[in-house]
Symmetry: D2
Subunit: 243 residues, 4 copies
């Protein structure tokens, strides 16, 4: 059965900033979607964007999504709380969630983490080196060690997230900063992966090595099949589980 | 310097249910506060309750609190969101938070966890046995293995919380259920401990062994002194940290 | 490509104890092997036992093994240290390792853990209930919650292992004890799963629900493909990674 | 009651290499011991070295040690296995262990970890920046963020250790490498801290900021008081724990 992936793009820079448009003429979400289509066999990949009704994420769409990828930056505050509630509920019910780069300050990521998700940043010309610290992790499979990005925005510690359940990548920057750049979290029946590359003004998502990480992450985050109902506490009389 | 502890009690059952009143004539919060005063040297312990203005937790009070203990059950929805926002901010800034029993469904605990925090439950006469799975943890110091509660409400798995950063206690119940009953979380600059005993209709907080756990937890959760400002992302020009 | 699994059985009780022989006429290892063959598509499953030269685990055999399953009990001390060294090296180089039941005190498990791996035990007629505490984990897929074993040996806490990297199952016993019965560990490039069922005098490995756990675990532990060489520290001149 | 600390030094470079002798005229262990004495109130700090009988760590000495600090480099193979067995047993029974720098390849650290503990290295003139990723951790209290070492040996990933139970520090180096430089592990009743500074040819242990980390670590690792006997599995008849 197909793995149903929805790539959500804020789609603001992509339409209004000529530099970003030049790099991502079809929008960042479309470039990411193509990478998943090419790299994850049997995936069915669609996109959704901020300006669509309900940001393209109504109940039916989320119910039909196994893994949601999230890229946002300048318009986090425009995402409706009701949509955030809905995404959170779906993640806890087993949908995978992959949050990219500036999505660290999105409502949905902060909601899932319970923390500020703040960090240090610098838009300059730092070289970023992404190091694997969990070689046995499926998200690291086939990823160079290090993976060098010649120019990227700096994201540095302290990154205000819960201690990751699994830490996969740690980055360094020319300026000397470090960053936990690939982090796994288990929340309810769902799995979450945060990955810090790609700033909109660099062609990061055209990079085959980055695409490899995204495809690995989609496969890893693929939905839980657990039939448990975790939405509410359950009254359980003595011997409820016995035949 | 004194460790400033605030015990927050919902104080509803304690005033309206004669059975609870008989067990906790001064309110559950007061019994807990006495246990901390007796067991944590140099502690300065006060209380706050739901019916007070701002639930007794205005900015000044929270700023003067190193560790907040939370017991709530029947009136979670009456806690103002603005107060929850404030508590969350203080925890992320270094205040310890200890959430007790039915506080698992409080707004503040669900906010900090990002999950439903649902579980299984049964008000019966189960015997609960609390087992230590982290003997090196300061919260387990001096706690019997097992600690037996002759009669207690059953709380069972699946408990919808993030994987604890440290798992200290696991309970079993006569009915056969298990529960992760003592769980540590690190969030921002703060430390959180969830401890599942005590239901209001049993004299759990009068038990010296339980008091020992609470005192250990208060000492463990004691405030972070980190000067980091984590409230917002910080622009950091190249070499910002060099002299 | 086939997933190459080797099931190692101590094969002592199975040959010498008529009760065990009655339950496992072909040996426990053979019953386990059949379960994997039936449940893991494209697996190539063989067995090895203590009494074979080098316990059936010479260099060539280990090199051709992707996941090793280990059941031992009464003859841990008869396993040659040189073979233990070899297994440890293969796990660190990416082979999966699944340790069952009384294998908790095997040389290889204690070697990988660095701890005593001691526990409490009782051969009686306890009912064991296995509860899932990580519903999103692939090893829990399709496993009943709880999974009840009507009669089993009791294994109880404190279980002297490192805090598991992922805790999947927690068991309770009629006698009131609890046990971390399904534990994941990442070590080097390899993955390790400890699963506490099945004592030799109960037909645990004939149980389809247990077989499901074993098959899930084999798929999860499947070998790392990382090309990193971790056997020795590596001298790395400045810019070693640049082209 | 005093916290009894033993600083173990290999004491080979310190006696035979004039450069090291110039930096540490009394031996590295003595410099470290002085830092602990000055910074941990009520500590009783002694030293032990490789060339002493039983390396200065006979049964009586270990029994009287609450926290053991370990620095070794060139003579790991000269440490007797019987002494390693003894240290391991004491750690599992509650003694704290702090392993420094090149101690990553010591017998005792590899024994406790179960992994190769290999890494990348370069003796050059890299600047090391040590970043705090756990601001709430007691070992990070009062430590600058970042803590800059103008010149230090490079230690880089992949560092072949189990995923740390708590990750406190991550370092970057001028050459671009990163390293998990401050790692906590819980093993049995004991606590272990690995801290990667200081190479013998730099005056790292004279640095007050590094001394602060060591003192914090000693206080954190301070001995467990748990009365549990974890040395052997314990037969436990039904109701063993009831009065």
């Amino acid at each position: 059965m197909a793995l149903r992936v929805t790539v959500w793009g804020e789609n603001v820079h992509d339409r209004h900033d000529p530099n970003v448009k030049a790099i991502y003429p079809d929008g960042m979400h479309e470039t990411i979607a193509r990478a998943i289509r090419a790299g994850v066999p049997q995936s069915a990949v669609g996109t959704a964007t901020l300006e669509q009704p309900e940001h393209g994420l109504d109940d039916a769409r989320l119910a039909a999504t196994d893994v949601l990828i999230w890229w946002g930056h300048t318009a986090h505050h425009k995402v409706a709380d009701a949509v955030v509630d809905r995404i959170q509920a779906r993640v806890l019910d087993g949908m995978g969630l992959i949050v990219l780069h500036s999505g660290h300050e999105s409502k949905i990521f902060r909601r899932m983490m319970g923390t500020h998700c703040s960090l240090r940043w610098r838009e300059a010309q730092d070289r970023e080196l992404i190091w694997t610290v969990a070689p046995q992790h499926p998200i690291a499979a086939g990823v160079p060690h290090p993976l060098a990005l010649e120019r990227h925005e700096m994201y540095g510690e302290f990154f205000d997230i819960p201690p990751p359940d699994e830490l996969v990548f740690v980055s360094s920057f020319s300026g000397g900063e470090v960053f936990r750049s690939g982090c796994c979290f288990k929340r309810g029946k769902g799995r979450i992966f945060y990955f810090s590359p790609g700033h909109e003004s660099f062609p990061i998502y055209h990079d085959a090595r980055i695409a490899r990480v995204l495809c690995n992450a989609v496969s890893w985050a693929g939905p839980s099949t657990s039939p448990m109902d975790t939405r509410k506490s359950i009254h359980s009389p003595t011997n409820w589980f016995a035949r």
